[in-house]
């Protein structure tokens, strides 16, 4: 009976230590790899750290899309309901569902000049779907 109990205790201690370690490592890793989301207003107000990757989102301002004269570089403005505007630079082919006048979410970092260098641009899958981040930032028509 005693050895049986000791065995059970070992298992419980092992499980406890194991799961504690896992959770601690995970949380440590999470601290490093979390991307914060900022609206154009927050970026313009200078609330964004220059270091590290962030996400930003808003509406792609109509007629703001400009292609570089060489390469695949492209620049456009994102804006929110407050009218704050951030210029985004992206090197590569824009995703299928990217359009002027529609919402978008960009991944990347802000440089010293306030230009957002996007490494990834997120496309939507379903045009009636509003990413939770963009709720309240831009207007969607239901038609």
């Amino acid at each position: 009976m005693k050895s049986h109990r000791r065995r059970k205790l070992t298992i419980i201690i092992f499980l406890f230590v194991g799961s504690l370690t896992t959770v601690l490592i995970s949380i440590f890793a999470l601290q490093h790899y979390i991307d914060h989301f900022y609206s154009p207003e927050e970026i313009v107000n200078g609330e964004v750290p220059l270091k590290g990757t962030i996400r930003a989102g808003g509406m792609v301002k109509p007629d703001s899309l400009v292609y570089d004269s060489t390469g695949l570089g492209v620049q456009f403005d994102i804006t929110d309901l407050t009218g704050a505007t951030v210029r985004v630079h992206y090197e590569g082919i824009l995703p299928s569902l990217f359009r002027e006048g529609q919402g978008t979410i960009v991944h990347g970092n802000l440089n010293e000049k306030g230009l957002f260098i996007a490494k990834r641009i997120r496309a939507k899958h379903d045009e009636s779907y509003v990413p939770p981040e963009l709720e309240g930032l831009i207007e969607y028509d239901d038609s």
């Binding site: 004269s69 695949l72 082919i93 995703p95 299928s96 569902l97 939770p132």
Partner: protein, 641 residues
Amino acid sequence: MIPELGHFSAFLGLMSAVGIALFGFFGANQHRASWVDMSIRLTKVQVAVLALSFLLLILAFLEDDFSVLYVANNSNTALPWYYKIAGVWGAHEGSFLLWTLVTAVWTVLVATRARHIPLKLHGYVLGTLGVLSFMFLAFLLFSSNPFERLVPNVPIQGADLNPVLQDIGQIIHPPMLYIGYVGFGVTFAFGIAALATGKIDSAWARWVRPWVNVAWLFLTIGIVLGSWWAYYELGWGGWWFWDPVENASFMPWLAGTALIHSLSATEKRGAFKNWTILLTFLTFTLVLMGAFLVRSGVLSSVHAFAVDPQRGLILLTIFILVAGGSLVLYAFRAHTLNTQVQYWGVSRELLLLINNALLVVALFTILLGTLYPLGHEWFVGGEEKLSVGEPYFNAMFVPIMLLLSFALAIAPISRWKHTPMRLVLNVLIFLGGSAVVALLLPWILADGVHLGVSCAVALAIWIIVTHAIACYRQRKALTLGFIGMSVAHVGFAIAVIGVAVVSVYTESKDARLEIGESIEVSGTQFELVSVQQTESQNFIGERARFDFGFQQSLYPERRYYPIREQITHEAAIAPGIFKDRYITFAGPMDDNTWGVQIQNKPFQRWIWFGAVVAGIAALIAMLDKRYRRLSQRDLETKYPE
């Protein structure tokens, strides 16, 4: 009339579910064969009425009946007929009708194909499936009715199916995935029934194992199809994004994989009984959690369906009822299960325990990463919105999989109870040989050495070698079970090689080319030869021709769908065993230049090939004679009635 008939049929399905549940449970409880028989008969009724309901929705799509809201939102007269059918499961309501139909099919299969199991167990299994079916159908009918009419303003034209979904992937990926998901509902029901009867032994494990394998096979195929589809359809050559919705399908897969392994110990040694039961619950709970995450819109994802808070609430309720209910039952009945199994050293039990521990740890790190943004929003609140990036998942998942690979290579020579140290040391010798081969690989690929890739490839080769040797040594007494295990592990190793190599050695170049200009990627020249206008029923576009290598050509396309004002990039891929060439065409950049992205992706196919091999292995293992040979004996000796 047709939509109303479909709606009514689904309602009849709901009624049958009530019958299946009541007759199943009380038949088992009162030990009345005639009641369980009634439940079995009702499963046939249910599958018939739900199939009818589903067919009628297909009919509404084929007939372009835009008076039905769901059809109007997801179809169009210009859509080819096969996409009209696939459009049935192109959005939430219709896909959930398919989900309920799949549940009914699984239920009728368990009812008719598992007649050899004891009456009590059979009754409880059917009863549980009836309850699940009832909850799904109630959710469908009361919050997601695909037959809802759009009167009096019937549109002349539908809004079209999302162009991204107009693909062979949409036709087969969701049904496979749902078959897999709901298949774990069957193992869940077996878990509940085991607690209800209080008897879980090797016979029970043998009855469950084939069902787990089939569910796992379909889920595996479903995930592979999704990955392959994303790879060519989204146009960027990515095959896994750690997107919340992908994670929602991957977490039950990990739990299901753990369940398959835990069941083997329960069958052969009567070990890990409690744990096996908990895994049947965990797997299906994760399936429901996935359904909640995908269909409630709480998560930001490229796959998510449109938002509806009420639906989310109902799905959350179902999730809590199933998770909570099963755990409460477990708390009351777990004492009926007892495990007293001795093993020491590097025994097969220990390896299975390590497997399960690592898979569950991997699962929880993914769960944490997936739910963290939600948890932060709910508990910390505020305006700040977070997301957890791919680096987190890679940093957590990859090391765990390498540890798992290590344990896996020893698996084929391990013995139950205790493995002689001599055998373990023998196997370790092969690791050295595999490491040499793995270091040679970068030279074959003519690229730099990457330590992580070499480690992964060394472990993978080691796994393949040890399993081949084990099968050769046992060639006189090889069972399908052992072959299945070996093939599955080799499939895993193949996938590991693919993931490691493609992740590190992919080369990608973006360029802007004039006609006749070329660009070099990974030693191959790609020349833009021409660009032509294309046109079809529902889109217009440009199609480029690239020549490369020895008279090979690729034709990537950029399409514009006027109905939804949407652009898609149809990438062109030259698949190969050792490398994929992948071209995305961006269309005109100015008057005479065209945007293009060209990628060289070595060993890309190995990922899916490995997963498919593992899926086939599940089928091989399922055909093992002992599942049939022993079941009659079990029934006579262990369950005399």
